[in-house]
């Protein structure tokens, strides 16, 4: 025991002395290293913009969105705009990579330079030598990338930074869509995703101005019209009044222009006071009405418990008593009753062991007629890609609302463990359901 303590003490002392020495050296050299780095970046800017007025010609702007951290407006000694530089960084499997992208005032790329990185030098050097020249002269809003560079990770990072810079130049179409309703929006942030009955899965997105104050919220989702799907958003002002309907695609904006205009009659109206029945009975308006009614039902609920139940079953009015089924996978079950107090469905919540015995948290809702009505994977640690294959396959099968379909194992070949885990959960839930209903 004493020996072990001695070893620990010696290692502790060596570690402490080492740490102190490194800290001291770091403190001593920090300012100088920062100066060197700044000088190196300045050299890059001068290389890109030979006419640059290095004393007064640079305007630095911090950028908070995407992989680009800084936008620098470049001017010559006469004060004329000579271009922009974007300073961005990304992290890939091999480490970090810092990139400077220089463009001229017309948006043509002057050069792309890697200023610092921890990727494998053997790959980075030929990549820069052979492929970076291709960027020069290209329009940043429409860059042609090389497919096989031999340094996929590094090149993908550079590509991602260029795409982020492109959004700053050409504008982010999603942000622009939000700005069409909320002119002061500077950034947006997805807050949560929830199920809203007829509106399907809805994502709540918060919109902020440049002082970081909330200016509104948009609930985005997908609607289907004549077998085509469209991404849209239901916008709400910060004071909980209706702001408008947004479409993210230009073609959809045109196609639904009259329907959107019909909804504009509710502009600045309290959400509670919106009466969808006053709208015309027209196909496109009806699609939007279905989305709005599903969403409003959730948004206007004061009752948190009911809001939770509606995620499982949109007919829910109240839940029955909760119990614990016999299956190890099923942790909780309860019945849901509709407004007429008739049994609507049975909810099963639990965990099933996925790949490497990692738990997959999920729930499933079985309707009164024994069909699978709804389900969700709440959390999982399955391998990216493989797990998704299984989950996507399950979603498609369960979308058919056919309890037999989920058992088709071929649908998730390649992710057998995950697929079987989800299937076992559903088997247990159905067995318990059949026992309860006496089938």
């Amino acid at each position: 025991m004493l020996d072990k303590l001695r070893i620990a003490l010696v290692l502790l002392i060596i570690g402490a002395v080492s740490g102190t020495l490194i800290w001291g050296t770091h403190t001593l050299t920090y300012d100088r290293i920062q100066e060197n780095r700044a000088r190196a970046r300045l050299a890059v800017y001068v290389e890109m913009f030979p006419e640059l007025d290095v004393l007064d010609g640079m305007l630095f702007e911090e950028v908070t969105q995407g992989l680009v951290q800084q936008k620098i407006t470049m001017r010559n000694a006469a004060g004329d705009l000579i271009g922009y530089a974007f300073l961005g960084s990304d992290t890939n499997a091999f480490g970090f990579i810092d990139v400077v992208i220089g463009i001229d005032p017309s948006g043509k790329i002057i050069d792309v330079i890697i200023t610092d990185h921890s990727n494998t030098e053997t790959y980075v050097r030929p990549l820069v030598a052979n492929y970076f020249e291709n960027f020069q002269g290209q329009d940043i809003t429409d860059v042609n990338y090389d497919a096989n560079t031999g340094a996929t990770q590094t090149y993908t990072s550079v590509q991602r930074i260029i795409e982020a810079a492109k959004l700053l130049v050409a504008g982010d179409p999603v942000l622009e869509a939000y700005q069409s309703l909320f002119t002061t929006v500077e950034r947006y942030e997805a807050v949560q995703t929830f199920s809203a009955g007829d509106a399907g899965t809805v994502e709540e997105v918060s919109l902020y101005d440049n002082s970081d104050d909330l200016v509104g919220t948009v609930y985005t989702g997908v609607i289907t019209y004549e077998d085509e799907t469209f991404e849209m958003g239901f916008a709400v002002n910060a004071d909980e009044t209706f702001a408008g309907i947004i479409f993210f695609d230009e073609a959809a904006q045109e196609a639904f222009a009259s329907a959107v205009a019909a909804f504009d009659t509710f502009k600045d109206v309290d959400l509670e006071a919106i009466d969808l029945d006053t709208l015309d009975d027209e196909a496109r308006i009806n699609v939007l009405k279905d989305f709005a009614s599903g969403l409003l039902r959730i948004l206007l609920l004061d009752d948190e418990e009911l809001a939770r139940l509606l995620q499982f079953d949109f007919n829910a009015a109240r839940a029955g008593e909760s119990s614990v089924p016999e299956s190890e996978r099923l942790l909780e079950t309860f019945a849901i009753f509709d407004e007429e107090d008739a049994f609507s469905s049975q909810v099963y919540i639990g965990e099933t062991d996925g790949y490497g015995s990692n738990p997959i948290e999920m729930w499933i809702v079985i309707a009164a007629d024994g069909t699978i009505k709804n389900y969700a994977i709440v959390d999982h640690n399955e391998t990216d890609g493989l797990g998704d294959i299984a989950f996507d396959a399950m979603e498609i099968l369960l979308g058919e609302e056919n309890t037999d379909n989920y058992n088709q194992s071929d649908a998730y070949t390649g992710a057998t463990v995950t697929g079987n885990a989800v299937r076992a959960f559903i088997d247990d839930a159905l067995a318990d359901f059949n026992e309860r209903t006496g089938d």
Partner: protein, 255 residues
């Protein structure tokens, strides 16, 4: 008493001198033990980068040898190697930061090979085989001698490669000398063999230098062998003469 001390000192001096000089030729880490070949191949495209890497190794090897020798009795043997690694990596981190601050061109040029000094077997080898068994002064001298020997080897490779690939030997490009230029510059295509600037050139130059050193060594051994053979033959001849003389004497006696 004073005479004894003088005797001891007099005895030690040549020992420390040999300890210092052994790293240059007799026990040169690169050319004899083939240690630290990774930086010897990777950073020796110019004389300055070779010298730069050599100086960093001098700093790390001398200090790590001193520290290891100082605390050798306190380190439990179970954690000997991890402790050495921590000590070495501390000095490497320090030297890395100092290089980035005061010799940024050298830092850029040496790149990943600065942190890789931690795993240079020369440094860990000297800590384990010498510093952990000897006193501080001997360890410091051994570290200095070995590191300078390593530097000498790197510079020899570097100067050959730079000359063959560029026809010139530049200064002030990587080291913060304050001035820059070329020691000499043969502006001819004869010395413009780019292959010597790359890793292949490193292998070729090291190979040629090793071959020359081997040839010199073999030649020396051959000469020594010839001398030995001559000596043996001479001894044999003398013995034969003595034998014959004895035989003649005994034959004369009988007559």
């Amino acid at each position: 008493m004073a005479a004894n001390v003088a005797k001891k000192t007099a005895k030690k001096t040549p020992g420390q001198l040999a300890n210092f000089t052994k790293g240059f030729i007799k026990e040169n880490p690169v050319f004899v033990f083939l240690l630290g070949l990774c930086p010897a191949l990777a950073v020796t495209s110019t004389l300055e980068t070779s010298l730069g890497m050599g100086l960093l190794v001098v700093f790390v090897l001398v200090l790590s040898n001193i520290v290891v020798s100082l605390i050798k009795n306190f380190i439990p043997k179970e954690v000997k190697i991890p402790s050495y690694i921590v000590i070495i990596s501390t000095f490497v981190t320090m030297v890395g930061l100092l290089t980035e601050a005061y010799a940024e061109n050298l830092f850029e040029s040496l790149g990943i090979f600065i942190p890789l000094i931690v795993v240079n077997c020369l440094i860990l080898g000297r800590a384990e085989s010498f510093a952990s068994k000897n006193n501080v002064v001997s360890s410091a001298i051994d570290g200095l001698g070995m590191a300078l020997g390593f530097t000498f080897a790197l510079m020899l490779i570097g100067v050959s490669r730079e000359f063959l690939s560029t026809g010139a030997i530049a200064y002030g490009e990587y080291l913060p000398l304050g001035v820059s230029g070329s020691i000499f510059n043969f502006d001819t295509h004869l010395f413009n063999m780019a292959v010597f600037g790359g890793p292949a050139g490193g292998f070729i130059v090291i190979g040629v230098i090793l071959a020359i050193l081997q040839a010199i060594d073999l030649n020396k051994k051959k000469k020594a062998e010839i001398a030995r053979q001559k000596m043996i033959e001479e001894k044999k001849r003398l013995a034969l003469e003595r034998k014959r003389k004895k035989e003649l004497e005994s034959a004369g006696g009988q007559a």
